[in-house]
Subunit: 325 residues, 2 copies
Amino acid sequence: MRRRPPVPAAARAILARDRLALARLITKVENRDHGVAPVLQALYPHTGRAAVIGLTGPLGVGKSSLVNSLLQLLRKAGKRVGVIGVDPSSPFSGGSVLGDRIRIDRDPADTGIFFRSMASRGHPGGLAAATREVVRLLDAFGMEVVLLETAGTGQVDVEIGAVASTNVVVLVPHLGDEVQSLKAGLFEIADVFCVNKCDLPGADGAARYLAELVGLTPRSDAWRPRVVQASTVLGTGIDELWAAVEAHEAYLRTSGSFEKGNRTRLEAEVLELYRERILAGAVAQVEGSPELRRLLDEVEARRLDPRAAADSLYERNHARRRPRS
Amino acid sequence: MRRRPPVPAAARAILARDRLALARLITKVENRDHGVAPVLQALYPHTGRAAVIGLTGPLGVGKSSLVNSLLQLLRKAGKRVGVIGVDPSSPFSGGSVLGDRIRIDRDPADTGIFFRSMASRGHPGGLAAATREVVRLLDAFGMEVVLLETAGTGQVDVEIGAVASTNVVVLVPHLGDEVQSLKAGLFEIADVFCVNKCDLPGADGAARYLAELVGLTPRSDAWRPRVVQASTVLGTGIDELWAAVEAHEAYLRTSGSFEKGNRTRLEAEVLELYRERILAGAVAQVEGSPELRRLLDEVEARRLDPRAAADSLYERNHARRRPRS
């Protein structure tokens, strides 16, 4: 059952820390190119070492600057760091809606950093699947920490948050009414809150408010989310932020929560890949077919409703080939 | 092939403009309750009359106030109007991330308005499918215009935008750098741009800038997006906004683009429902199975990679029951 095929050259290149090979493989993973399957298979035993840390929060709270400050801190500590910036994207242009906004001060000669911006292209399901595999490539490449920055626009953050073992939600002292309400969705994924731009007035109040909310929010585990304040302008709080992240990672390891979370993440990934596999063929098979054309004629003439048309496609192309439903 | 079952009571209630029946059916559609299929089927021949207008744009540009102003205008003109507010949501709480932010000044006795806020819950694919069906319910109910307001957070707007025949993208004179870059994704779906809050300085410049961008952006049709200015505070520009929407709707009808767009929308809907149908059973079948548990043990031990596990699930549960791949 466990085939051990020869290790593909691209996998050997990743283990040898070939940056160009890494960039190329990430592009293939993003494009859901099935050809990377043997490479991922060969690399899989070499993964599972990197700490995967998510950072999210509304637009304008300074997530990118914070990622930048964390990068400097981690590099000084000798850690190799991968950064993935995940943005929602336009399916029309294939481009990023928010643009490549992360400006990272990096020494081009520093091989201990690898930065990649990902566009979501199609559906968020596929984005989470692709992000998991890109994390795994960075992990096999030898990155000890992978920072996942998401754009803070809701659903995508929550899905990508599920890829990380620790999630930092970044806020600022004074959010407008509208942005403030975003917190509701981000609240549940936060293991650490960071009140960024704490040089602005109101930071203490915001931190107290968050700490109170933390006390009121039930969790499925015994971790109590920490609230830290930081200012990338003053250069303060970055150590405290990382200490809080490390405390959560330590909690995960000692409480057994890491294994449980890891199992949940792997299950989500396998089921997602299973769905992807099922759909890949099914839609291609009917798209552009005379059968679909005929059904759409009926739907357009309002003699058949869309659900009945979908059922008809299902019955003819799918259901009857399967002995039990 | 075309069964004509008796018209269900719920469908008759919709045609009789029973608001409570409408609210209940919308909830069922949102929950993807398969029991609504015969109701939707019976109502389908009574649909296709409503103009479906999307309004989107970044947070804080005043979309809700604009929807409110359009509502007043349309009601004065004697039009029956449905409003759907679509927000991203947290999969944990099932609640809305952005909250129910639309404040509509409406006369409770006015039966010519129906307002509904929708949470996305699961995946955006399902959200578009549900939104299409809710639009159809409002259409069958007799609403002549359906306004679809989305939260302006990227991907969801584009997906929901595909449900509407005319899309208005709302902006303000001065957007911050970060929000400004959001325009890239929203630009491609815009048939009309509205520079809202035009009482603020810079509105003329913003409108000129947009008009220039419009001239530079290729489209698949001959429509040139209009740029209008509005202020809900001053009460100006609302007529012009609606005139621009009507001009686009008229263009669609006279150019034959409406039929083409409608066909594309119906095709997307049928394929989406087909996907939904295929996946419904497939994942439930393997979730919690001893087979999945065993595979996850192997993945956890890094003896099998996630893709190979998904392939194995596919081979055993799906592929071998189908004579041709």
